[in-house]
Symmetry: C2
């Protein structure tokens, strides 16, 4: 697989590994060895990479063949390279790339990149599990994936069905700015109606998960001076997205019914509402307040951005219509996820909004990446059509309901001086510690006991965010581990108090 090196032009490919060619003087075998070792240790030459043959190397670097062979011999002896039949000289397998490669000696300093960045982006993946991390024993992080719930056989069947020659001809294409018509159809027939939304196809666009739906809406509608009302505490990610648009964020009060509808909303151009279960408190907005919010939006000319956060497991038939379902004044933009609960890694979500808005979102999405991958859209359409999505939601609701009961019992047992809020169908608990509790301070002690959770302060806005809260999710922890997990968490709390 490695490039063979036949012509002079091809030699250019090795320029960055053997950079001394330009000086005109010939490399010694020690210099060649150093160059290869540097490239391997810098992580540039991956394990298994095939090097040029001795003959090619000699020709490329204008050195004697003996010099080339001496260099390779030395590198094989030192274990950097191995000789493989038919492949020639390749980089040894047991030479791991260092995790943090050393600074490269021969590398020029390069331009002032930092001065060139137009947006300042915080690295806010805090608390999120990394692919390389060891799995925590007790994972109470929100929204994480539970392979034990994943409908492996059903999903396989649907991916296979999407791989028929006929289907491939459909989704294999670059459809520029379109969506999979089947997925849109399944969405409007089988998913949106559960939330009281009866949408036309031209009022729907498929996105790469809820995250991209939020990004597209913010990019299209928020700019310098746009006033966006945000729940406080609320979804930190939407604040970050808005941060890049120069919009002004107005902090809005929430209570046990979610966002409080008051005159505080009137000066907003947009009001963001996490609409299934409020993020992070899990509050569900009562029907009267929903209607009041919509009336106010029409009277005061603001738009409601409804993020159907964590709404998949709302009791079915949905206890309450989504705001979008009640939207007679065309003032609601509805955002949702299709994959969060099934497998977040699939990254599929959607926006429902007036056709005029969807057309603009579509043009914007086209600039960003054209369209979401076709095969996944088609497989998910089949998954919904065959009833597997609905069936999966039922199983997930059952499992998460059991876990929620177990978590409630464990909290009562081990952390009776804490208070918590949890609404039916929500996949997390919002837990408040007693006076003096600091979620950031106990996090390391908890982690040492294998317990991870979402620190509550990241949902609060302001210079000194409240640290009294934790969010405990149940989407990936088995019910049987919950009691022991909360016990370990309570020990961490006790340790920090002492």
């Amino acid at each position: 697989m490695a490039p063979r090196t036949k012509g002079t032009a091809a030699d250019l490919a090795w320029t960055s590994v053997f950079p001394a060619g330009e000086r005109g003087d010939r490399l010694s075998y020690v210099e060649i060895m150093r160059a290869v070792i540097r490239a391997i240790e810098a992580g540039r030459l991956a394990r298994g990479t095939r090097l040029p043959s001795g003959r090619d190397l000699a020709r490329m670097l204008k050195i004697g063949r003996n010099t080339a062979m001496l260099a390779y011999g030395g590198l094989v002896e030192q274990g950097y390279l191995v000789v493989r039949p038919r492949s020639g000289v390749v980089v040894a397998d047991q030479m791991p790339s260092p995790a943090t490669p050393p600074a490269e000696a021969g590398e020029a300093a390069g331009p002032d990149w930092r001065g060139r960045f137009k947006i300042a982006l915080a690295d806010d993946a805090a608390g999120a599990a990394r692919a390389g991390d060891a799995e925590p024993v007790f994972a109470f992080t929100y929204g994480q994936f539970d392979p034990s719930l994943f409908p492996t056989n059903h999903w396989r069947e649907c991916e296979r069905a999407a791989l028929s020659v006929l289907e491939i001809a459909q989704w294999g294409r670059d459809v520029v700015d379109e969506d999979d018509v089947e997925l849109v159809e399944q969405l409007r027939r089988h998913i949106l109606p559960h939330h009281g939304i009866w949408a036309r196809p031209d009022e729907i666009i498929i996105t790469l998960g809820g995250q991209q739906a939020r990004y597209l809406v913010a990019q299209l509608l928020a700019g310098r001076g746009t006033v966006v009302g945000m729940e406080n505490p609320g979804l930190a990610d939407f604040r970050h997205i808005l941060g890049a648009t120069e919009a002004v964020i107005r902090e809005l009060v929430i209570d046990e019914g979610g966002l409080v509808v008051s005159e505080a909303l009137d000066r907003c151009d947009y009001v963001y509402v996490s609409g299934g279960h409020q993020c992070p408190t899990t509050a569900v907005m009562p029907a009267e307040r929903r209607l009041a919010l919509l009336e106010r939006a029409a009277a005061r000319d603001f738009i409601v951005i409804e993020d159907s956060y964590d709404n998949e497991l709302l009791r079915e038939p949905s206890a309450l219509a989504a705001l979008k379902g009640l939207d007679r004044h065309q003032r609601v933009i509805h955002i949702g996820s299709l994959s969060k609960l099934v497998a977040p890694g699939l990254r599929l979500g959607f926006i429902v909004a007036p056709a005029l808005v969807i057309r603009q979102v579509r043009a914007l999405r086209r600039l960003i990446h054209r369209h979401p991958p076709g095969n996944n859209q088609r497989a998910l359409a089949i998954f919904i059509e065959r009833g597997y999505y609905r069936g999966y939601l039922r199983r997930a609701a059952k499992a998460l309901g059991e876990r929620s009961l177990a978590l409630d019992a464990a909290l009562r047992r081990w952390m009776p001086d804490f208070a918590w809020r949890h609404s039916e169908g929500a996949s997390s608990f919002w837990v408040e510690g007693p006076e003096g509790f600091d979620c950031r301070r106990i996090a390391p002690a908890a982690a040492a006991r294998g317990v991870v959770f979402d620190a509550g302060d990241r949902f609060f806005h302001g210079p000194d965010p409240c640290r009294r809260f934790m969010r405990l999710g149940v989407s990936s922890i088995p019910a049987a581990k919950i009691d022991a997990g909360i016990r370990a968490l309570s020990e961490a709390v006790r340790q920090c108090r002492a």
Copy 2:
């Protein structure tokens, strides 16, 4: 699947279909019929949607059960609804949603959306095939998918392999801002080295196709007043992306060796180069010019954005190292596609850049949509690892080479007064018409004969873009159809002359 309507709260879900409930007066059966017909004709109630039972409807709308049954009876009689055993009353299948639904009588006008859009987005999907379109007989459009070349069995095998329980546990997760480590590894071992690029994992990010790579780079680095040099003619999409950033575009001259390296570049902050085959001329930049460009970038402090456009089929081993492979001054950002040739619908691409830049791009991508779908990344990693990618490229190169020969012969035969440019391994021809030729004027006549192509004017910048050119792609047209296609095209040209 349709929502059952049991509780009062659930009735809210039907509010937008039967809106008169709020008036307090009871609906007549005619009014109910009208409401249902309106919702069906507006495309809101999809075929197969189940309506509330007569009993539920009566309770919801506070009407007599007889009124409800009369309304449903009338609708069944008129063919809008059908009665299905076990499902009750559902919307009839033969009621197609109108393509352009009529304005809805009961719908409020809604807010002034246009005044709210922060970015003006042109609908520039011109020339692109739509999912609903009939396949043209002779499709000379660029970059389109050829199902007959798609390695169906190999791809199926890899998707299946990515569906093992172990694999699902890996890709099913929300990995926040990470990439599939296997795909990155395959990329740096088996794909980048062919272009002379030896990159560390932290210098690579996976994107949703080349399009998103371009978007991310532009968003991060271009802002008000940033000067970006663009080839003219060049990739229109990158101009559109830049248009949303308030960057200043400087038009740069190209010749048969691609971008001309001159003092015109010196005032640029960034210089965009379509680096495999120049878009749209297919020119390949010679080695000396590559080195001169990089030296100039270092001397004049600009950055080169290298878009490895249409480079997958460059002769192997790559005749020339990519600019990134020669980049000793850390001044090249390299953009590439992994799926364009295999199946553009998969949407996978990448960026190679200094680690500092990749970290920022990663933070930006996280805001936009977190990460590309995990299952496709894993399936593609397996596809590359098993050698299928390389094998596919070989087959595709062979097929496209044959088609290019056929196209060259057909042009000589039928359009001898035209001139064209095509470099080995490019998947398109850049065809120049004789004096007076207008690509836009012949497009309708060509389409009438089943011939579609990319009009050349969209690659030129300026108020009066040159219309002398067409781009003819060979990625989706079978060799056997090329002669007849060019003959038909020549007839269209002749017709327009007459």
